[in-house]
């Protein structure tokens, strides 16, 4: 079979697997968030929390709950790292230094999973499984709850209630994430991923060298790292490490996991707003963008541009033999289109335009299909913008899902769209203006070096977590600035989205008439794809010309 045919079949199988679970999982999640029954473990949880599961919250209370929960998470995760040496299973590793502990806590609580550190040399098993991996579940769940609250904003009318954050969070953990994680762990171990509590195992090679094989409860963390679109590797090489991702089948399974919830949530959305076609339209936009970026990245990696790449004969620097160009490009596109940030190859060593594709994909705001929850609410905000723009063009009243888009909603949408790019561009500009920060660049004195910095702030601002790994980011400057960018890039949009949800929920639905723009048809899908690309393109084109475009064209 030719390389191209095999590569296309690989992509085809992934799409087929996602299509197979789309309706069951999307429908299941819709029932999870609309059911009024609590499971026994949930009733126990609400009792311990002191929460009345029937008491819905206003958008402001919902937002305060998200923020309080994340603030406590941040403090706890910081302390666990700072106290590492006193904890069991620390493998003799010292306490994590202040700046790095802040950066890592911010990173995992914001669902970014940017890693300034090399896990093997920094984090013991306990910090990983009882600290970091817990946030892999909880930050993913928090993102989903916000998306569900926004869906309720469209689905409900004349109410100031959006649901109860603690109930949505608990149900997401116990009914959605944990069952899939348990199954997924066993699948991964069956494929060869390690799962033990050992500090490692010494072997003596055939040439007499001692090699220390690392241990760890990897599979149970790997599964939620992908499923929750987190991305923080148990090991430094992340999903390129053979113990995290041993073969092409585990690779496909991991890509499947990281796309699973973001894709299926569009079905949940369609069901909850009682118009399945709306969910298909949103999925159509996400799928179109994902397919286009996958095509581009695969093409560029197979072309193998770059002087060093051409000297080698193929773009295999930073790639594993078992994955090659196709499975590496597929992983890169899927991880940057979601907010995952796991990598199975070194993006820094991708061809100029291949790496640029990964960078640009994050800049879309991670809506193709985006992180768990974050992708859906990001795309719905852009859909509101697209309806508004269409309304301006043809003089129709801007309405989306029977809710009017007024000045208040547009102000919130504008704030949302401006917030992340401001952080990314300001952060990159400040870093490039400081000689001390520029010293962290590895591929120095080249457009590629600028791309390393731009990639870092894009990754942090959009809560992705992948990196052009040459950048030495474990410095006080980068730990602090990237940590702040991650927190602001996560929680400013969340508060705006919840405010928007509150605003829509209060409205009375307007009846559909001949002046209403249909938002479930191909025309709207094309329009929304255009809006995503134009908004992002206009924002980032100047910086892209300084980095990947300068290097690649």
């Amino acid at each position: 079979m030719s390389d191209t045919a095999a590569g296309l079949l690989q992509v085809g199988l992934l799409v087929a697997l996602l299509a197979a679970v789309y309706r069951p999982l999307g429908g299941y999640m819709a029932r999870v968030y609309t059911s009024d029954k609590d499971a026994r473990i949930e009733r126990g949880t609400y009792k311990l929390l002191g929460v009345d599961s029937k008491a819905d919250q206003t958008w402001a209370t919902y937002a305060r709950s998200v923020l309080a929960f994340s603030a406590v998470s941040l403090i706890v995760l910081y302390l666990v790292q700072r106290l590492q040496s006193h904890l069991p299973l620390s493998l003799g590793l010292p306490n994590v230094e202040q700046g790095l502990a802040f950066n890592t806590a911010a990173s995992f609580v914001s669902n970014t999973n940017w890693q300034s550190y090399s896990p093997e040399a920094t984090m013991g098993h306990l910090v990983q499984f009882a600290g970091l991996a817990v946030q892999n579940f909880l930050s993913a769940a928090a993102g989903i709850t916000v998306a569900i609250a926004l869906i309720r904003g469209f689905a409900r009318s004349k109410t100031d209630r959006l649901g109860n954050f603690w109930v949505d969070l608990t149900r997401t953990v116990f009914r959605v994430l944990l069952p899939i994680a348990v199954l997924g762990t066993l699948v991964l171990v069956a494929m060869g991923v390690v799962q033990n509590l050992s500090g490692g195992h010494e072997v003596t090679s055939l040439v007499g060298q001692t090699q220390h094989l690392p241990g760890g409860p990897v599979a149970s963390q790997e599964v939620i790292k992908e499923l929750g679109t987190n991305g923080g590797g148990f090991y430094n090489a992340n999903s390129g490490h053979p113990f995290e991702n041993p073969n092409p089948l585990s690779n496909l399974f991991e890509i499947f996991l990281l796309l699973l919830i973001p894709v299926s949530l569009t079905r949940t959305f369609g069901l909850m707003v009682k118009d399945k076609r709306q969910g298909y339209a949103i999925l159509g936009v996400m799928g179109t963008l994902w397919a286009a970026f996958t095509f581009a990245a695969t093409l560029f990696e197979n072309q193998g541009a770059g002087t060093a790449t051409q000297a080698a004969g193929a773009a295999m620097e930073g790639k594993e033999t078992r994955f090659g160009e196709w499975a590496s490009a597929l992983f890169a596109t899927s991880t940057t289109g979601t907010s995952t940030g796991a990598v199975n190859s070194a993006h820094d060593s991708f061809t100029p335009l291949g790496g640029g594709t990964a960078l640009f994909h994050m800049m879309l705001g991670e809506v193709s299909p985006g992180g768990t929850g974050t992708g859906l609410y990001g795309m719905l905000v852009l859909a509101v913008l697209a309806v508004f723009v269409a309304g301006l063009m043809v003089g129709r009243t801007p309405e989306y899902l029977k809710k009017k888009i007024t000045a208040r909603e547009m102000k919130l949408v504008s704030l949302y769209i401006l917030s992340t790019p401001s952080l990314v561009l300001a952060g990159s500009a400040i870093a490039m203006g400081l000689a001390g920060a520029r010293a962290s660049i590895f591929n120095a004195d080249s457009p590629h070096g600028f791309s390393e910095v731009l990639y870092a702030f894009t990754s942090a601002g959009n809560n992705n977590g992948s990196a052009f790994g040459g950048l030495s980011a474990n410095t006080p400057f980068f730990n602090t600035t990237l940590g702040l960018v991650m927190l602001l890039g996560r929680f400013v949009p969340i508060v705006i989205v919840l405010a928007l949800a509150g605003s829509f929920a209060r409205q009375q639905p307007v009846p559909v008439n001949e002046g209403t723009l249909p938002t479930h048809k191909a025309l709207f899908v094309a329009m929304l794809v255009g809006v995503v690309l134009i908004v992002t393109g206009l924002t980032y084109f100047p910086v892209l010309t300084l980095g990947p475009l300068a290097e690649g064209l």
Binding site: L49, F69, A219, A311, A312, E317
Partner: protein, 195 residues
């Protein structure tokens, strides 16, 4: 505001209890239960797929090793960490990096010399470091390049070595997933076990 402040404090109380409950469920019970299940159901996999030669643990069949000391063995790819499994990493060289270009030129010359072939025959995976620095596999092309040298050094028939290479070659999973490859770690273990 006066009524909101206590409400906010209340949320912090709920949040603290929530973190405690979820840490117990997701950070203690879940990973320990999964470890127990994995150890029972897939003991070898869960512990790193370690392989033995003459009863001694020599490697994991998933983790590459450096065999450059011994020309009678098949060689793995270049590694940014010299196959130190306690610290996986890629080189992070950019696609236009001059240092990488120089390294590739040196590696090409070295491999061509070791195998006694024309430099143009050396495949890309023999010239580049992997993403993990621990890649256990090479391309079938790079393995084929090494067969003559290994056969000569070990005093074996070329056909016998080719047979071993074939046994340690994996095609694409299901015929289309990933890339065809030769596992150098298991191949070398098979060679060593013959003696």
């Amino acid at each position: 505001m006066s009524s909101r402040l206590p409400a906010t404090f209340r949320q912090f109380g709920v949040a603290t209890r929530a973190i405690a409950i979820f840490t117990l469920a997701l950070g203690v019970i879940y990973p320990l239960a999964m470890t127990g299940a994995a150890q029972v159901l897939f003991h070898d996999n869960a512990n790193g797929s370690v392989i033995q030669v003459d009863g001694k643990d020599v490697a994991s069949d998933l983790i590459g090793q450096d065999y450059s000391k011994d020309p009678s063995l098949f060689q793995t790819r270049p590694s940014a960490v010299d196959y130190d499994a306690a610290g996986s990493a890629a080189s992070q060289y950019g696609p236009n990096n001059k240092e990488l270009e120089d390294l590739i030129a040196k590696r090409r010359a070295a491999v061509a010399k070791l195998e006694g072939v024309d430099p143009s025959q050396v495949p890309a995976d023999a010239l580049t470091a992997s993403g993990s620095g621990l890649d256990p596999a090479i391309s079938p092309a790079y393995a084929a390049l090494q067969v003559n040298r290994v056969a000569r050094e070990r005093g074996l028939d070329v056909a016998k070595v080719q047979q071993l290479v074939k046994e340690n070659t994996q095609g694409r999973t299901l015929g289309f997933l990933g890339e065809p490859r030769v596992n150098v770690v298991t191949l070398n273990a098979d060679l060593a076990a013959m003696n």
